[in-house]
Symmetry: C2
Subunit: 442 residues, 2 copies
């Protein structure tokens, strides 16, 4: 006997059987519908890119997580790679913007819902193949674009039915203004922000220590920054500190503007200026946000404005903003109404003997043409009880019995699988009747 | 300046921009709908498998076309691979059947529409990343299963609107019976069939020559076989030759049964017993078929019964049959009604100044909530003409103009982008009115 392990999918990947697959696809369809209503359009790029398109874009740590594809044929023996599986959807976007510039609408509003691959250590809820769900606007520096990204993500989370989610909103300009107000030299800024981003994981004194020893800030500056950002009245404190900083004022203005632009769609309790939101990635240039949800540590969505990233990634220089739904983290939060009730078919059709098979097939075809998911018994048993068990196992709501008696009478017998009630119908009315009974509300 | 080439997708792969992506997705949705109506259920497996799951399954030529993934971390330097991109959807099916046996319905009727990767030399219409579209029934030896596969593929091609397609039908048992009738030793049979499969590419005398020199058949046997299979009255000839062969009779019986089971759904001109259909793959054990279509050399779909394959591929021993739509070859045959008219949005909303932006956003949100795809102008220009050009470029059918005059009057102006006609509407009726105008027939 071979071990079961032999047939498992590769480490960190998953097989999706029908029920789970359809649950995921339903969520993706909901998101696509919302993004489409905002005028975002889909983009699909290949699973792999030329290796040089990907390397050097994700930092040293990221580069190590790229799945590289071995050269082929006579070159295989070199042990070298020339292709790699995509690591995210942003680098392919940058490549696409560079490749198709003039063919794309301006601004280019695109979404992508597709798997990416990372050679991370697999763990609970961490996969090597997982779906990312991005939307971005390339080519617009308008604050309306930031607001539209936030609105579209909000509507998607709302349509998915994620309970209790909340947007945390900040601007990189607020953070830079704050550093400016504290007199932190510009070259120490980005490092200081990376450390301040740890305020949600480390104790405040640990962050202060790292700012001093690791980032070169003066003790009193570090303490002041951490005190401000962790105070219960952080928002008021920060607004006060930023009075003299032009950058800081611009940051506050863009936050206030975004709150104003979204206030009719996003209830006030679902979005708030959150000065201690930093985001570790240093490519953000303006608005930044994360979405939190009860019962899920970390964020379920995030994004912001990144005006220089497309150029850095090899695309043309273009202002851009965008966001991403952490769909693999969101899916477990959703209430799957019919999770246990996955039904392969609505109607099961018995086959009572070879000589009735052709008529049975025609009957099944008629029921399908009426739009009903219909399965015909494909087993070897002629026993009624065996076929009923099969119909039941398939989750069928009705079973159609067509035996010699029915043939002679020109009828079919329709069995309600729940009540067991059996009703005869004229053969030529069966399809319509079953379509009526199986009609599902949408 | 960098060359454009730098931004192309990797050789043999494609980027799908919105219009093409949606065209493909529409075709896939049509196919899923048909397969679902037959009670087939989706299965999704990972893009890559452990290398040993794939190697040795596709023959020497196939093995060379597998994209292998380099080991990672400290093992990268070995130049060895431990994973590989899936080469088809059948080996993952066999693995899945082995892994989830008891959790799957019996028989297991599954479909999969997903990309596969082959390191083939890219060429016109030949890609390294392409979508396969398979449906299979595992665990049923009933002839009803073969018929159901053929019917579901037929209905899918019909629903897609492929013009003039035709099923060519045969049975491996007919072919083995024919070899038996001609006294070809059993061990020469499979080789002889591989050569006979070339009758659609080579001249008859070339096939005869290869049968003699390459496959060890007697000249007169080779000539007789080729004459029978290429004769205008091949069907009658073969039926005659098979009179004394039990295998051949069984083959003819399964063909006749399939024709009987499908005759009410598949018009007679769309399916025919075709004795010279051989199919090169030697794993078929019963019914085999291909689908041809005018204007497309080769086949656009194919399949058959393969009772030993699942076990050979590492799964459990299970009878099986299935078929595959050559969707990449089918897509170019379809009439794309709206190919040139891809519209990102139905309604474009102008933004006439920063102070109107919040109201404009609320208006756009209302129109979206009414189910209409709506874009807001995200550019920097306040000029009416520029915004009209943008609305036009987006393919919008209507443009909503909301300026100071409209605000003061509590109205919006709706412009029909085709006629240029402008009509004022009360602000609170605009969304309903636009939804009515944009309602699309399904």
């Amino acid at each position: 006997m071979v071990s079961q392990k032999q047939f498992d999918p590769a480490s960190g990947t998953r097989d999706f059987l029908a029920a789970e697959h359809e649950r995921r696809e339903r969520a993706f369809a909901t998101i696509r519908e919302v993004f489409g209503r905002y005028g975002f359009q889909p983009l699909q790029t290949p699973a792999f890119e030329r290796l040089e398109v990907l390397t050097g874009k994700y930092g040293d740590e990221g580069d190590k997580l790229i799945f590289k594809i071995l050269r082929r044929g006579e070159h295989e023996a070199t042990g070298e790679a020339d292709l790699a599986l995509r690591y995210d959807l942003t680098v392919p976007l940058a490549r696409t913007v560079a490749a198709y510039g003039n063919q794309l609408p301006s601004p280019y509003k695109r979404y992508a819902i597709a798997p990416v691959w990372r050679a991370d250590r697999p763990g609970k809820g961490r996969f090597r193949e997982f779906v990312q769900c991005d939307l971005d606007i390339v080519g617009s520096s308008s604050p309306l674009s930031d607001a539209e990204v936030v609105l579209a993500l909000h509507d998607a989370l709302d349509a998915l039915g994620v309970p209790g989610f909340r947007f945390l909103l900040n601007s990189r300009r607020v953070l830079f203004g704050l550093l400016e107000a504290y007199g932190v030299p510009a070259d120490l800024g980005p490092g200081a922000l990376i450390t301040l981003d740890k305020l949600d994981k480390l104790a405040p004194e640990q962050v202060v220590a790292e700012l001093v020893t690791g980032r070169g800030l003066a003790e009193e500056v570090a303490q002041g920054l951490v005190d401000d950002l962790t105070a219960p009245d952080a928002v008021e404190r920060i607004r006060g500190e930023l009075k003299g900083s032009e950058t800081g004022q611009a940051g506050l203005a863009e936050i206030d503007r975004l709150l104003r632009l979204t206030k009719d769609t996003i209830p006030a309790e679902r979005i708030a200026f959150t000065p201690n939101l930093v985001r570790g990635l240093d490519y953000y240039t303006g608005i930044i946000f994360e979405v939190s949800a009860p019962g899920m540590p970390g964020s379920i969505a995030s994004g912001g404005r990144y005006d220089n990233l497309i150029a850095t990634l090899g695309g043309k220089d273009a202002p851009a903003c965008g966001g991403s739904l952490g769909i693999e983290r969101i899916l477990p939060l959703l209430d799957h109404g019919d999770a246990d009730g996955y039904a392969q078919i609505d109607v099961a059709v018995t086959v009572m003997g070879e000589e009735l098979a052709a008529d049975t097939f025609r009957l099944a075809a008629e029921i399908r043409r009426a739009g009903v998911r219909t399965g015909v018994y494909l087993g070897a048993s002629g026993k009624f009880r065996t076929q009923m068990k099969w119909a039941n196992d398939q989750g069928a709501r009705f079973c159609v019995i067509y035996g010699a008696a029915e043939r002679d009478a020109g009828t079919v017998t329709v069995r309600d699988m729940e009540s067991g009630e059996q009703t005869p119908f004229p053969l030529d009315q069966a399809a319509t009747e079953l379509a009526r009974r199986c009609a599902r509300p949408h």
